[in-house]
């Protein structure tokens, strides 16, 4: 291992070092402000080091990790999202009756896991990254353990994540037993080299189990059962994190693994992903119609969004990767914004998650209601928001590969989706007379929280109106991905 390789891994090393520094600081002097400041500084340093790492890319830092410009792009996305979550979590945690400082250690460990997933080029780092992310999330989901719902969310996530990890591990073992290597690029060479692998039962069984493990983390149908409960139960900033970083990192890995190995072009694998995509779009959007809890609505909407993303994933090719990357950026901003509003409205007793809490919010908190409406418009894919451009790119990618069935379902289910987003928006703007009799929690919003939400909204509109810059960045980033 060369010193140069360590420089390429600098973003990950800084994340790991920050988590240790924060932990030691807690041991010496317990201060919420200090812990969160150190975390923010560490995240800024990690983000800045991306430019250093970029000059060295692409480099195989070890057989396990491959830092290329594709990875650097997603690392940036994950670090930025973690930054936002830390800011949002500060005020939220201040209101909670538990120790606050450990939150940041766990968050940094989770982000390290997400980062490892993004740069992994080997089953070992794939699994370790996944476990780093999962183990930190077990504790984060149950972080506010004085309330019943977070504990329930934590236990549900623990049992199901551990189970899915076992599936994934067995899948990796089966693939390894068949091809004799755990490196993605070598597996790719074998798959493209020998047609007999396409029909090998061991290989297909292994891939199916890997899809199960990945599908759980992405929360796509039929591996989505945990999503609404965990979204509802987990503290709002953690929900934002699970919805964005955890899924985004896994999707980045999904694209890398299946494109580099060429396994997504195998007939059965393609079929399985098509079924998952269709089921996710339908189930996500239809079940969201029945919910009256904002966090659950967002959970089902996220299931549907992952289904949309799978359409582009199946389309394959440059346009597809570009669409996936842009859609993830838009989805990150939107989801963080939406859960950001939920976070700042929550108090120490419960999260502001019932639809009644938002009844007539516009008349009490016009700015917050406006931002929330904007985020929902973007999720629905209304023009002039990032969500619209993202969806447009998805459709373009699907159409360019002539996946008409999937594209038609994407469009139809998006229209269904409009209904439940509009339901929330209608509630936001309901006249104050029809507002809920019991006033919803509406604590004061700090300057940091408010400015974060404003910045997210500005980004959302900017990407919706003028996506050229972001598309250019993405184009340069994905050029490193070796597509088969």
């Amino acid at each position: 291992m060369h010193p140069v390789d360590l420089i390429a891994l600098l973003p990950l090393l800084i994340l790991a070092a920050t988590s240790i520094v924060v932990m030691l600081t807690i041991a010496l002097h317990r201060s919420h402000r200090l812990a969160s400041l150190l975390t923010l500084i560490g995240l800024i340093c990690a983000f800045a080091s991306l430019w250093v790492a970029r000059t060295l890319t692409p480099t195989e830092a070890s057989p396990l990790l491959e830092v290329d410009s594709y990875a650097v792009f997603f690392l940036g996305l994950v670090i930025a999202a973690t930054f936002v979550v830390v800011i949002l979590a500060y005020d939220y945690l201040e209101k909670q009756p538990v120790n606050r400082e450990e939150f940041y250690v766990l968050l940094l460990v989770a982000s390290l896991g997400a980062g490892v997933l993004i740069v992994s080029a080997h089953f070992v780092s794939f699994f370790l990254g996944l476990e780093l992310l999962s183990v930190a999330l077990y504790a984060l989901n149950a972080y506010v353990f004085t309330r019943a719902l977070p504990v329930e969310a934590g236990i549900k996530y623990l049992v199901l994540a551990a189970g899915s990890a076992a599936f994934l591990l067995l899948g990796m073992a089966l693939v390894y037993a068949r091809v004799g290597t755990m490196e993605f690029s070598q597996i790719g060479g074998l798959v493209s080299g020998g047609g007999h692998l396409l029909k090998d039962p061991l290989m297909l069984a292994g891939l199916a189990l890997i899809v199960t493990g990945v599908g759980f983390k992405l929360a796509v149908v039929p591996f989505h059962m945990w999503t609404p409960d965990v979204y509802e139960g987990a503290p709002a900033p953690v929900t934002a994190y699970v919805a964005t970083v955890s899924k985004g990192a896994m999707f980045a890995l999904l694209v890398r693994f299946f494109y580099v190995t060429g396994a997504s072009s195998l007939g059965p694998v393609f079929l399985v992903f098509s079924v998952i995509a269709i089921a996710s779009m339908l189930v996500g959007n239809l079940l969201a119609l029945l919910q009256s809890n904002v966090k659950r609505i967002l959970a089902y909407s996220s299931i549907a969004h992952l289904g949309y993303l799978l359409v582009a994933f199946l389309a394959a090719g440059r346009w597809a990767v570009e669409a996936v990357a842009f859609y993830l950026v838009a989805y990150f901003i939107t989801t963080l914004g939406a859960f950001g509003v939920v976070t700042v409205l929550s108090n120490g007793e419960r999260d502001a998650d019932s639809l009644a809490d938002y009844q007539g919010l516009f008349w009490r908190r016009p700015a917050l209601a406006g931002i929330f409406a904007l985020m929902l418009f973007s999720l629905a894919g209304i023009p002039l928001t990032a969500g619209f451009v993202g969806k447009f790119l998805l459709v373009r990618a699907g159409a360019s590969s002539a996946l008409w069935n999937l594209v038609v379902i994407l469009v139809v289910t998006s229209v269904i989706g409009l209904f439940y987003y509009l339901r929330v928006i209608v509630a936001l703007f309901a006249s104050p007379e029809t507002a809920a009799p019991s006033p919803a929690p509406s604590p004061a919003v700090s300057a940091s929280g408010a400015s974060t939400l404003v910045v997210l909204s500005a980004l959302l509109v900017w990407l919706g109106v003028d996506p050229a810059f972001m598309l250019q960045v993405i184009e340069r980033a994905i050029s490193s991905l070796k597509l088969l």
Binding site: S19, L65, E102, S125, A136, A139
Partner: protein, 166 residues
């Protein structure tokens, strides 16, 4: 001598199945220990004596002792004594014992016969394991240590009692 591998695997599967179907935690643990020992033997027959040793030291040794202690500590008092007597009925320890005897017989056979490697597997000693762990897979080892840190901090946070209002 592939039969040794299959016998050990069968013991592992049976023990794991019985462990899952036990209603009592301590009985389940007995089967789990047998299952772990059998897995260690599988590793050994496949040419990985070092991993086999680790499996026994860490899983069957340290982790199981921890499990047993925790279960026992949760069951203190007079009721526990009656339960203890209940647990010593032969029907409860015969099953794990039979499986363990099969494993012992196999271990004795392996130790007294020269060439017992399965499927033509090469023996991978501690030296080679260490070289790959601290060579190409160094990052993996470091990541595993971060994993432990995450688990530790999480357990610390969830396990501690709430302080009085600050």
């Amino acid at each position: 001598m592939n039969i040794l591998f299959y016998v050990a695997s069968a013991v592992a599967i049976i023990a794991t199945f019985l462990m899952l179907t036990r209603m009592n935690a301590v009985h389940a643990l007995l089967y789990l220990i047998v299952s772990l020992l059998a897995v260690a033997l599988v590793f050994y027959t496949l040419g990985a004596p070092f991993v086999a040793a680790l499996e026994i030291i860490i899983y069957a040794g340290a982790i199981m002792v921890l499990f047993v202690f925790v279960v026992m500590m949760l069951n203190l008092g007079r009721a526990a004594e009656a339960q203890e007597r209940e647990w010593q009925r032969p029907s409860l320890w015969v099953g794990p014992s039979v499986l363990a005897v099969v494993l012992i017989a196999e271990v004795i056979y392996v130790l007294t016969h020269a060439d017992t490697r399965m499927f033509g597997a090469e023996v991978v000693g501690p030296h080679q394991v260490a070289q790959s762990l601290f060579g190409p897979y160094l990052i993996g080892v470091e990541l595993a240590s971060m994993l432990l840190l995450g688990g530790l901090v999480g357990a610390f946070h969830l396990g501690r009692r709430l302080e009085e209002k600050r």
